[in-house]
Amino acid sequence: MLIKKAADIRSSEITPKSLYLNRRKFLANAALAGAAAAMGVGVKEVISPSTTAFAGNKIEGLKKSPFSTSETVTPYKDVTHYNNYYEFGTEKTDPAEEAKDFRPRPWTVKIDGLVEKKQDLDIDSIIKMAPAEERIYRHRCVEAWSIVVPWIGFSLSELIKRVNPTSKAQYIEFTTLLDPARMPGQRRQVLDWPYKEGLRMDEAMNPLALLCFGMYGEELPNQDGAPLRIVLPWKYGFKSAKAIVRIHFTDKQPLNTWNVMAPNEYGFYANVNPNVDHPRWSQAKERRLGEFFKRPTLMFNAYGDQVASMYNGMDLKKNY
């Protein structure tokens, strides 16, 4: 794998125009178009140019993955301008703005706890651990919207295998960077910083669990969790911790930030489940960004073949 400086093709050009045009069709369906017609205003056919500062560095030599979906990929602009990343503000549009000057280098990840090879790993040595794959995953937020993203990374198990967890290690805990100077959202106690997430060891070892450092052919943009995050497509988005600085192996079930914040609303498992409602809204349907009608949410976000067996015999209404 080779990481090259960006030069010629930008992601905005890779994203098929048809996707942007879909948005237009979508709007034409909405009442607004009617209002427009009444006012005699034509829908502008010019595609608005993207203004993002791109993460830039292209990642080449990507392997394809059998886990990839063939569903339509969500436009890059949406995935980079509609983010739940409270470290950079609580509005969806905040992270694109507030993370602009964030520098994800130098960066080390502390590996500790019940593991033989405790160490501080440099981000660039992590990226080189295994061949990078492109994995096009469905991503379902607990707020009932979803996207399809071509992530780049490799199975989290690749890293775990290399650091030799002891036999006592049953859980794994991820910690996001705590640095209010670089993460302005942390200057307010909206959540109990730093953000923490956790997995059971078998979940972490599941090949679907992705250690992720890129998307759309490039390194991760800051607002999507640069330089290192996890992606767990069968779980609600908040499980997929961003900007990870510590991976801790433990024998106790870790606390996860949203669970601490509102235990009756966000569980430890947080598996996508259309049959278990969030107390304040239904999880039966979701809105795929760019689509007008909602679509039904599928159990485990339709990754049941890979993950359902891990939860055999568990009451998923209790372990939400």
Binding site: V41, K44, T90, K92, V190, A262, W281, F293
Partner: protein, 208 residues
């Protein structure tokens, strides 16, 4: 002068919906246009409710008594944005699924609160005509105090729906708190003044 001023204010009140149409035509509603419209119309409903509630205090404090002639229009705009907000939910979120909507109203307390806020605005909008004001006479004002409860339910609706960041709903709550306490204070002062007046009269009667 105010006669020419009124159409200007009317158009200004339409600006938020005009902005939505304009943004919609220029791909400006972001990645989730329906959410954008829902939030925007909800924000403006609350804003217009609070602006309507601020007319009376403002009028008395600044002695600009003509302000009262704008109160009905502003209140009706609150209702207008409330209707848009509700329609966004009924149409674009629930797609007229009555069963699902009833389920939500009963089960999700933030929707119960929002529905209450909206329902309380309906009688106010219906009795806003000159004819209704005349017909209701002295009962009109007590009826229109329902706006206090509508605005409170609206703010509670907002507080109950946010995930973690209470900053924005609490801003509305603070403004509403100030506007309602102003009324409570003037009510108490008014009552005391009345009581004093009565006592003075009684005193005078005694002397006489």
């Amino acid at each position: 002068m105010h006669r020419y001023f009124k159409p200007v204010v009317f158009l200004a009140c339409l600006a938020p919906v005009g902005r939505l149409v304009w943004l919609g035509l220029h791909s400006g509603l972001g990645a989730n246009p329906i959410e954008f419209i829902t939030h925007s119309t909800g924000d403006w409903t609350l804003t217009f409710l609070l602006v309507t509630l601020s007319i009376s205090p403002l009028r008395r404090l600044t002695r600009q008594y003509w302000l009262i002639s704008f109160r009905r229009m502003l209140g009706l705009f609150a209702f207008f944005y409330g209707c848009l907000h509700l329609m966004t939910w009924v149409w674009l979120d629930k797609f007229f699924d009555v069963h699902e909507m009833l389920h939500d109203v009963a089960k999700r307390r933030f929707i119960t609160a929002g529905m209450t806020a909206f329902a309380l605005m309906i009688p106010l909008a219906l009795t806003s005509t000159k004819w209704a004001i005349r017909k209701l006479g002295r009962r009109w004002q007590p009826l229109h105090r329902l706006i206090y409860f509508s605005a409170a339910a609206g703010v509670i609706h907002y507080i109950w729906l946010v995930k973690a960041d209470l900053k924005k709903p609490l801003e509305y709550a603070v403004v509403l708190g100030i506007l309602l306490s102003y009324r409570a204070v003037t009510w108490v002062i008014g009552r005391q003044a009345r009581a004093t007046r009565v006592r003075e009269q009684e005193g005078r009667a005694f002397v006489r």
